[in-house]
């Protein structure tokens, strides 16, 4: 019975697999938060979102390499600094993309999809030209390595815990920005009624541009966090983009809370399944289930009750 495991071992497996799920959850949520703002609030399909994440990851790698070479004493602290820089680099790229590309296409959502796909191809090839086709990973500070062992059989990696904490911080920051600040009020007003918001004196173009930049900046943070878990290559972004879109769609596009709930359920389902069957089949089952649920409930888990 129980496949030769004792109850204690099963409990440990459940705990570790559950924590692996938490790690996946934090990466998915960090990526999806940016997309939830861009896609959920603005209605723009940003297929280059994964590449903005890669921009953050490469920024972290660059800063790590520079610190290692020129300021070795700074090594333990560089990571926090890198996260901030990654946010601003990805955000600035997003600002540029909105200015050059996306603002012309707000009325044609399907065309945005194609244009941003083109943007993602260009960004991928730029990474390949600049950093090479090989995957890179930064030297992590000591305090991110190792693991925490509450019992003999449970082994929880520290980098996973760090990412989890970071995700919590970013999530609260986004909630505060969107629902408590004046700026969030303007964003929500613009998404609900663009013309009216313009009429009461909100500069909607500016709101759009900064919202898009913020979404991309959060993707940059996700990229920085991602470097602690896996290495970064030119095509890293593409691997995650479909999952991220699924998280946002499954959660209900306009609901930030739905995004959290769906990232959690998708990540847990996938990592628990991964223990029993092969990784690829776990992903297939998770995605098929998502598609089936979306067929019956196309508006997602938490639909905003808006009459269209």
């Amino acid at each position: 019975m129980l496949g030769g495991y004792t109850y204690g071992e099963l409990g440990s497996i459940l705990a570790m697999q559950g924590f692996a799920g938490f790690s996946l959850f934090s990466v998915l949520l960090l990526m999806a938060l940016g997309l939830a703002i861009i896609f959920g609030q603005m209605g723009v399909i940003n297929m280059a979102h994964g590449e903005f994440m890669a921009a953050g990851a490469y920024t972290t790698y660059l800063i790590a390499t520079l610190t290692e070479q020129y300021f070795p004493a700074f090594m333990p602290y560089y990571f926090v600094f890198a996260i901030v820089v990654a946010f601003f680099v990805a955000g600035a790229l997003g600002y540029l993309a909105e200015f050059a590309l996306i603002r012309h296409l707000y009325k044609r959502p399907l065309d945005t999809l194609l244009a941003t796909w083109g943007l993602s191809l260009i960004m991928q090839q730029s990474y390949r030209s600049i950093f090479g086709a090989r995957e890179v990973s930064p030297t992590l500070p000591e305090w991110l390595l190792g693991s925490y062992q509450p019992t003999d059989t449970i082994d929880i990696p520290l980098n996973g815990m760090f990412v989890l904490v970071l995700t919590a911080v970013v999530t609260f920051a986004v909630f505060y920005l969107m629902f408590k600040s004046r700026w969030g009020l303007r964003v929500r007003a613009t998404t609900q009624n663009r013309v009216m918001s313009g009429a009461v004196g909100i500069n909607t173009n500016k709101v759009d541009r900064y919202t898009f930049a913020l979404g991309c900046g959060i993707a940059g943070i996700a990229g920085a966090a991602f470097t602690t878990i896996a290495s970064t290559g030119p095509t890293t972004g593409t691997l995650y983009i479909v999952d991220t879109f699924m998280v946002v769609v499954f959660g209900g596009a306009a609901s930030l809370f739905g995004t959290i709930a769906s990232a959690f359920s998708i990540a847990q389902a996938q990592s628990i399944l991964e223990f029993f069957i092969s990784g690829s089949m776990a992903k297939v089952y998770t995605l098929v289930t998502l598609v089936l649920i979306l067929m019956f409930k196309p508006e997602g888990l938490f639909a905003s009750k808006v009459r269209r």
Binding site: G43, I45, L101, H104, L105, R108, P109, L110, D111, T112, L113, L114, A115, W117, G118, L119, S120, L121, I122, Q124, Q125, R128, S129, T238, V242, F245, M246, V249, S278, S280, M281, K283, V284, L287, V288, L290, V291, L294, M295, F296, P298
Partner: protein, 385 residues
Amino acid sequence: MSFFYNKLIGGKEGLTGLILLALLILVVFPLTLDLFRLNLVGKYLTYAFPAVSLVLLWGYGGILSLGQGVFFGLGGYGMAMFLKLEASSPENTAIQSTPGIPDFMDWNQLTELPWFWEPFNSFAFTILAILIIPAAFAYIIGAAMFKRRVGGVYFAIITQVIAVILTILIVGQQGYTGGINGITDLRTLNGWDMTSDSAKYIFYFINCALLLCIVLLSRFILTSKFGSLLLAIRDKEDRVRFSGYDVSNFKIFIYCFAALISAIGGAMFTLQVGFMSPSFVGIVPSIEMVIFAAIGGRMSLIGAIYGTLLVNFGKTAFSETFPELWLFLMGGLFISVVMLFPNGLAGLWNDYKHHLTNRFAFITKRFKSQKTLTRPTNAESESLS
């Protein structure tokens, strides 16, 4: 007769376009290209099937499917399964531990043929499967989506996810599908050597004929009342619904038809190229099919074929000489086709044609006016003499 002339061919303009295309692919290419290049063009032309299907679906129906690769793949794999079974007869595979099953199954320790491979021993079943399975699959997806009024962006994302699922499934289930390498080493079709020169020519011409037939059929659909309704649905879906039409059924039909066309393309791909692999199923090939249609002109059936040929020629030429530049160029194509010329080559041609005919008209007018100027003098001189 004139009914068919107008509906099927699309009048005088459609006829010239069609004749030019037929001349190009049926006469010019076979005469000027060597067999290797012709086979390559044949491969490109199989991508034109999904591109044409996207003109119907996306250009006219306003439904962007990012999963046409799924149907292309289903058609291609159907044909590949039949050919693989023929290639792995017990005599050919005597060195395997289990003779009579495809080699990749033997490598993956399978000892008997899986049940869903069995029917593909029959050629008739295979043809039916290629025509029916993708359309039926499209019907299931379409019915579930369109009946619940899922459309636009959401539909695009869901079809993309389906493409991802199918790719992971094919790659993950090596023993049943051949994995990442796909189904390879296909040599004979009902005992007829597919790799011979004559077979390659025959497949090329069959492919062209099928493509032209599908263009005709699609044009027939688009010029019928259904075509006008499709456009109406694209532009004002609610209004069509309020007029008493069941919008979802029209969308489901065009989605199934598009799936069928793509599947035929996939089957022809396997026949001409001699293998099928998951790299023609996933997101990237599916989006590339959209760009073929977009470059050619999303509202032009024939434009989509030219778009496919042009992008693929470009891809081959660039990836042979400057592989680094190709992705930049491809990305630039995506952006510029959306920002600068949303109607693609066909749109450019229409704009430019206007200029051309204007200039032509100007020249003829001047010519005529000269004539009218000279004519009276002639008349005068005649009267004088």
